[in-house]
Symmetry: C4
Subunit: 238 residues, 4 copies
């Protein structure tokens, strides 16, 4: 088997990375190859709508195609700093077993306000990767001294010493809500980088639903404001 | 010896699980078979009314009867996330020595307000266990994405990979006070599941005392309110 | 050598235990036999008035006399829960090397207000020790469910499983200031228990100085209050 | 090779130690001999203005000259207490490989207000080092009981038990901003101690820029104050 490209999409800001990676797995039909539990995850189980409890669980999926893809997705990042380093080491051990040479790590870039046309920011672990990312629509922030906290960052840094190329893509997002619009933009940049096509229709649908939900929230809050204003008027008139 | 059923009732919300498990041990007369100390417990000793200090201590009790029962009760859950996982592993090691195949984990389900007729909510680690739980009076919440934090949850999740069936029962409770009423309801569901009978009289007594205590608090707070109102009236009249 | 009695006086509430143990070491002239450093101590050095830095350091002193005494004193308790357990284990390892069979652990019992005639409260790890403690002037609180956090507590609890008798003495203290008066009371109870005499003069001196210091604080705060009142009067008169 | 003198300048108050050590490395042209990564560092990567991500990284540089110098500089101190001790042990292991017998640890001494002519405070791990430090312009505070938290302190304390002389130099600084003026003063004391010369011109330039920046902040805040005052006057006039 040709060495797969590694794609990490664990929970994080706006769930952008998780949305993209899990969407790809569903759309292209990748196969579960490993489950990861850890004492570094938060000490709890999740219970689904059926009442079935299960451990927090990160998963590795393999897709065999023109380009082979190895996905890391799941429920949790580590709850401690030391755990973050140790888990990133474990993820890279798995990547090495598959002879991975390139890593994509996906996340959100929180800006604190709603964004109509989110950008996709990038960081790389080798200079020669930049052109490729820019050609695919990724931007490099000119602010220096930025940090990337957690798995997405550590995989780039620790992957480098194992000889792996690393590209982190971060969808611009408010940071307040799950953000399928940002995920859709990120997906399109990633697909250009991978030279594959993934139909974004269902993600567009979710983005539209989320937009309507946000719109609804805004209108509700305006109506509430008007209600209060008129009832205060009444009081004052009285 | 027939493999016992494992019943966990460590401290938690409303002390519901602890109340039920310790009540059963007293009522049916189980025998202490192990004491557990851990560096993961809070670093302190407890001093009783006699001035005798002892380490925080979880205990395992065995009851031999028609159905053999192995109880885990005690003073403490772990103080760290990693400790929670490691202690749950230790508890399952003990369960394995007794060839346990079914786990019941008991706890409270905090709702933030007083409840007159508390329900018993449940989660299981295998779908085929649901019917049995429902027949015994347990309910499954239809809200997904719920989490069960701590030992009760981890035993279900980690027990599954060791081939053990797991049922978590959670008595609905305010979360403000020790709740023997919720414990009594949970006990009745558990007894139906175990096909055993445990006389709930003393637990009913405690529930009635607690009800009177809460009632007393309410009346005291109302009298206080009236006192203040009338003294303010005096001031204004003056 | 006859097995020594172990006396722990590490930093804690009102520094009561530390005051007593270090005072005894100076008065009776015990000899340094061990220094203890630990990754569980806070990560810093102390610098004395001469500008000389040294690691945080707990120390073991041995006194050979009618009754042999082994003291544990020093700069620090552990900064983490797990560290508390592990360090207590280390202290008991040292005690075992000296074949210690009785432990005294000394501390303060914070009550949140100044106390003119502080009591000495006690806890023991075996019921048969109580009479002896009461005869020497120690009191047992009748409130149950009390906890003793940190080394003083853990040595009692963990010492028991190693076959050591343990008595914790706690001098009643406000908890706001270093309290040599409380220490003096504790010292007298401890000396009766040990059947030794230690001249308390210098501790009495320190208690008197501290009393004058507190008295000074009170008067200063009253003068300040009067000053403010009269200057406000002036403003209002003006 | 003659045993080098060890100079630590990791991040800390006012970045004073880091400024001095990194400035010396650049000015005298030391050579990178080791990179240090650790699970005890914060779990993140840094991204530079080019978009290149790299792990947090401490570095050891060697300068071979009349006096050989071994520098420890970098991005991070440990994020946990235990990590501080373990990393300090690692740094000393490295120093031992180079047969280091003297350590200089550099830092800031925060005073909470701006200082026009910052002093250089010192602490040592052996009394006989004091005269030398004072001759070079370092001061010893007469306040006892001071603590030095983190690597600068632990290297002195832990180095002592490995037979290494240790001198900690701390430039007086507000603690609010990066402080090249304080660094310049510290550099001059250190150079006298090392009997070497390092041209401080570029550090003086940075100090002047920082002074102008602070001056600008002050003037801006005064102008803002005046603007507000006059607009309030207008309102009141109106």
């Amino acid at each position: 088997m040709e060495a797969p490209v590694f794609i990490e999409g664990l929970p994080g800001i706006g769930q952008v990375g998780k949305l993209v990676a899990e969407y790809m797995i569903e759309e292209i039909g990748a196969e579960l190859v490993a489950e990861i539990h850890s004492v570094y995850f938060p000490p709890q189980v999740l219970v689904d709508e059926q009442g079935i409890a299960r451990l927090l669980d990160n998963e590795v999926y393999l897709f065999r195609g023109e380009t082979n893809l190895l996905f890391l997705v799941g429920d949790a990042q580590s709850a401690s700093g030391e755990g973050h380093y140790r888990m990133a080491g474990t993820y890279l051990d798995i990547a090495e077993r598959f002879a991975v040479r390139r890593l994509y790590t996906l996340g959100g870039y929180g800006v604190g306000h709603f964004v109509d046309d989110p950008q996709v920011f990038a960081a790389v672990n080798r200079e020669e990767l930049k052109q490729e990312v820019q050609d695919a629509g990724g931007s490099f922030s000119s602010e220096g001294g930025m940090g990337i906290v957690g798995t997405s960052g550590l995989l780039l840094g620790m992957g480098k010493s194992r000889g792996m190329e690393g590209i982190c893509l971060m969808g611009e997002t408010s940071g307040y809500l799950v953000d399928p619009l940002s995920a859709k933009k990120l997906l399109s940049v990633l697909c250009r980088l991978l030279h594959i096509e993934v139909d974004p229709t269902r993600l567009s649908d979710r983005a539209r639903e989320m937009e309507q939900f946000v719109q609804g929230l805004k209108e509700e809050s305006e109506r509430e404001y008007e209600r209060r204003k008129s009832s205060e008027d009444l009081v004052y008139i009285g």
